[in-house]
Symmetry: C2
Subunit: 330 residues, 2 copies
Amino acid sequence: MRKPTIQDVARAAGVGVGTVSRVLNNHPSVKQATRETVLRLITELDYTPNPHARRIAGGKSYTISVLLPVVTTEFYVRLLDGLETAFQDARYDVAIFPLLDRSRLERYLGSHTLAYQADGLVMATYNLTALLSERRLRTQQPTVLVDAHSDNVDCVYMDNVAGGRLAGEHAATLPGHIYATWVETELDQLFTTRVFEERRNGFLAALGAAGRPLKAEFTSSFDSLAARNTASTLLDQAEFPCVVFASADLLAGALLDEAALRGLEVGRDLRVIGYDDQPWAASRQLTTLHQPVESMGHEAASLLLSRLGGHKGPPRVRKFLPRLVLRGTA
Amino acid sequence: MRKPTIQDVARAAGVGVGTVSRVLNNHPSVKQATRETVLRLITELDYTPNPHARRIAGGKSYTISVLLPVVTTEFYVRLLDGLETAFQDARYDVAIFPLLDRSRLERYLGSHTLAYQADGLVMATYNLTALLSERRLRTQQPTVLVDAHSDNVDCVYMDNVAGGRLAGEHAATLPGHIYATWVETELDQLFTTRVFEERRNGFLAALGAAGRPLKAEFTSSFDSLAARNTASTLLDQAEFPCVVFASADLLAGALLDEAALRGLEVGRDLRVIGYDDQPWAASRQLTTLHQPVESMGHEAASLLLSRLGGHKGPPRVRKFLPRLVLRGTA
DNA sequence: TTGTACGCGTTATCAC
DNA sequence: GTGATAACGCGTACAA
């Protein structure tokens, strides 16, 4: 059986194709009753618009390219979730382009994808605008940066300095020595991120303002084994009671594991502040910093969609603040 | 200035649009002279066909979805290179769908991408056919598995057992105790791979056949810090001369670093056999196993394209053999 | 508020 | 071999 087309829906609903199209695109000038009839028949026939036909008729691709580094992280899953939800509501497709390697960026630039496949561009974590603009011939499509800074294009990012500060301010209210663990910035082989540097700056500033010293700090790479080792080293050297700012929940989790092994009472001998609010954080009572990542993705989409809608004006910046979630561990 | 269309090319070349289309699609029935004229004008006008128009006219999406786990690895870069090159030659687009998370698979299934965006499916490393077929309503598109096994669909993969065996056979010819290092199989948080298990099986079989014992083995997670620690531990315990099969070049590299630090003469006191033949392997004289990953990607594309071309018949299996590259370290 | 008809840039099917 | 021309499914201006 053939896939139903807009014609089929129109015929079945006893209206013209124009009306169906208007319903699809949320045109205000459709009578409520008609709209309902059409919508009913759309679901009844299980009709889905053909995106290709739409693109050729509309002269747009209704597609957004998302360039993002390849790191399996809660962060990117949630970011994509926010982006995709918002874009899908606006009937835009999202084409993900994972940057595994510098050569892959070349491939993206070289393919004709760029020219046809994307009305807009979302770049996550890395600001590749310079790289792009020097290579791009004509297609200078609207761009928004996520989790990155720029003076030239719209961008949204998390305020990691503020997050570190929140952690520091809270830590300063707690008794005992203060420790911290950071993540090595080599997130993948090619690029680096500065988020942990920023969290550290905020944290140190807050401690300084409160007149509390940082007893010692430790660095780990971002994997569970290394996290466990770092936790072990820290607990070997620590004087109790103490409070540890683990700048990623992965590190915080390892700390909790190791503490349990040693019979330390978390929340008393050892207090832990995490960062990320991973799904498991609540059940383990982890006090941590929650980041509104989906909202950030949503906002990024809004900014881009407004540009696609013709919005002119200077680059806009949206900063998102993490929120300290107080639970049992600190 | 508007993008040139097939009409513009036809007019400029003094031919009909049909002819231009035939040239584009490599139809044999075009006179050589005409073809050349058309091709010249295509480049002159900088014409690129509109893929959306093509899709609606052709009734196909000319797009292949590639589902792959998110691991920043030489392997996937090269695999994608092989796949994309082959598909682009056949004028197919590649839509990459990184599986960051189980929820993302749901998103893929839920979107209408599946129905419209893909004529075929490539699944790398994980066999998700069961998951897909139970969810899919009608669109049962041709599928090929890469780096995974299946009895029901075409698949291509590297013979890791053979690779381990090659390493073992070579190791057995060398003097000294034999050690090995493996990688923890938790490649990412959700799925696991069995490649190291397979390499180990092959390696042990070869040693057994040669009557050589394996003195000791070590396990590391797949990151440079852990690799370095493992290398250090191994060299602490090893008796020299010895030969180490490092089942990933990352581990082999760490071993070379650590050996240099201790003043060990590689190729004499310590012999190292790696696996992967990373770009840096040649310059460091690393004896290692080279995998024809691009070829594998190319073959996967060929299998899928043949199905799209109407090929019927039982599932085909293509096994690719790694090749031992003898350099200085062993 | 709604229906009709045209156009988008291709491919495919005819005749020539 | 090659040139017209009819689809393909949708958006949209225009008329009603």
